[in-house]
């Protein structure tokens, strides 16, 4: 089964061609990053998958269904750069939100929220207000909320873009663990080359005007329990490995090539 399947996807906003002939498939549990300069259409691509934008041409399938059907069935969870937590709800109630919208019984969604807060390491903050949490913690709540309906796919649009570098690295390690435990595939939009490399199985490099995929580079996502000298299973080791730097170089060259076109 594939989590996402895009074929021949075009998207135009009037005269502007935001996406042109996108072909991309995400396997189950696969972590794929979209990277490219501003205006390359990476966010638009994510929004097309989320059924927040309609493609001008081509087909979009999520979990084997149309993007529209997949949205209605909550096959994906989404997290934006702003955590978007509702201030009048407690942390746990925010996590419960997608379940409540889908009419799950109170006791059941309580239990699920507790489980998810445990997963993101915020069990002690279930009754807190979002404003009492740091930026990184708020983002973890947003991830827990996105994972609440046990989606096959997690869509993330620069979720760590507003965090400082230290918090960001910690959150990357957390996300890897969470994605691994939940088994969800992740489509991840970012501006940061090291972030894309350390998180992803594959890094999709895009170029603007029109938004195209120029190259797909293998990432260095650590695979727990499958450590080799070339591919350590610890994030910190990955960040210091030679393979990490060569992958960064490969992505950087791909970006430059896309720029020259």
């Amino acid at each position: 089964m594939t989590a996402v399947s895009l074929s021949g996807v075009d998207k135009s906003f009037g005269e502007v061609r935001a996406l042109d002939g996108i072909e991309l498939t995400l396997g189950d549990g696969e972590f794929v990053s979209l990277i490219g300069p501003s205006g390359c259409g990476k966010s638009t691509l994510l929004r097309v998958v989320a059924d927040l934008e309609q493609p001008t041409a081509g087909t979009v399938e999520v979990a084997g269904k149309s993007a529209h059907r997949a949205r209605l069935d909550q096959e994906y969870g989404i997290a934006f750069q702003q955590s978007g937590l509702l201030e009048w709800r407690t942390v746990a109630e925010n996590v419960e939100l997608p379940l409540q919208v889908h009419g799950m019984a109170r006791a059941e969604r309580r239990a699920r929220a507790a489980e998810l807060l445990e997963l993101v390491g915020l069990a002690d903050f279930a009754g807190s207000r979002p404003s009492q949490l740091s930026g990184g913690m708020q983002q973890r709540v947003a991830i827990a909320r996105a994972l609440a309906p046990s989606p096959r796919l997690l869509l993330m649009d620069e979720p760590f873009g507003a965090l400082d570098e230290m918090t960001r690295e910690r959150m990357q390690a957390e996300l890897l663990r969470i994605a691994g435990e939940s088994g969800a595939a992740v489509l991840f939009v970012t501006h940061s080359i090291p972030e894309a490399v350390v998180l992803s199985d594959r890094v999709v490099v895009m170029s603007p005007r029109p938004g195209r995929i120029t190259e797909i580079v293998d990432g260095r996502r650590p695979r727990p329990g499958e450590a080799t000298d070339l591919a350590p299973d610890d994030v910190e080791d990955v960040r210091e490995s030679g393979a990490f730097f060569s992958a960064i170089t490969a992505v950087r060259e791909a970006l430059r090539k896309g720029d020259a076109v």
Partner: protein
């Protein structure tokens, strides 16, 4: 809790200061007022124009009609009048609140409705109240709903609601539209329909905009009820009392001030009622960006 105690203290202090300023003006300024070159700059401060505070308070205990068989005191008359008007104002506030919220929902749901209705909502408030009052009373006199003949007080309530609906509909519309695009998209991504988004996002988010709007509406409803009582000639309320007492003001100004005091207390009670609403909704009042 400490901040609430401070609020009470500040309010009490402001009241004492007002009384002191009033009495100080009587004490220091000349009784005939200050006139420069034939232009009166400050009003007369004699007992006929500015009665002592204690004279006004004492008047509350005096009988309304000297030597009447039913010796009702002015204080009781003012209190029962204020209560009557308060009922009408709160009724008008509820009516206007329901109308305003429904109108805001309609305008939020259909952009076309907003473009079509909003100009009229604003225009409605530029029509002077005094022009509307006789109209409403006139129409009301001609209708009977399910055998129930229209009462003059119903006209007063409708006029109060006419003033109250405006701030509520405008504030509510702003509140319903206040969630950022990202929040609306989040709900959309969760396959949340219009009703669920309304209930879980737009209504909670509108509270910080709604509470000040209701506070304005409550004040407008009180003013509307008093003016409507006067211009429709409805008996039983504080508006009528102010007029009646004002007619005897040349002889006894303290009686009119007693009625005005009643109207002021009435406004405070109405504002207090909104404060209770605010307290009940404080969970939703927090920082909404």
């Amino acid at each position: 809790m400490r901040s609430r105690a401070r609020t009470v203290l500040t309010t009490a202090a402001a009241f004492v200061l007002l009384v002191a300023a009033w009495e100080l003006a009587k004490l220091v300024l000349p009784a005939a007022g200050v006139t420069v070159g034939g232009v009166r700059l400050l009003p007369r401060t004699d007992d006929a124009a500015m009665p002592h505070v204690w004279t006004v308070l004492a008047k509350l205990g005096a009988p309304e009609v000297a030597g009447a068989a039913d010796p009702r005191s002015i204080g009781v008359a003012v209190a029962s009048g204020a209560l009557f008007t308060l009922g009408l104002a709160l009724g008008g506030l509820v009516l206007g609140g329901i109308g305003g919220v429904l109108l805001a929902l309609l305008m939020q749901r259909f952009a076309l409705a907003e473009r079509a209705v909003l100009p009229y909502v604003i225009a409605s408030q530029t029509v002077p109240l005094i022009a509307i009052a006789p109209l409403v009373a006139g129409w009301g006199g001609k209708i009977a709903i399910a055998g129930w003949a229209w009462q003059p007080w119903a006209s007063v309530m409708v006029i109060a609601s006419y003033l109250a609906f405006f701030p509520i509909s405008v504030g509510m519309l702003r509140g319903l539209s206040s969630p950022p695009k990202a929040d609306v998209e989040l709900f959309h991504s969760m396959a949340s329909g219009w009703w669920t988004t309304l209930l879980r996002l737009r209504l909670p988010a509108s509270v910080p905009h709604l509470v000040p709007a209701v506070r304005l509406a409550a004040a407008a409803a009180v003013v509307g009820a008093i003016v409507a009582e006067i211009s429709t000639g409805t008996r039983g309320g504080i508006g009528r009392l102010i007029i009646e007492y004002a007619q005897s003001a040349t002889g006894d100004p303290s009686q009119m001030y007693a009625a005005i005091l009643g109207a002021a207390v009435l406004g405070l009670v109405a504002a207090g009622a909104v404060g209770l609403l605010d307290l009940g909704l404080r969970r939703y009042r927090g920082t909404v960006s």
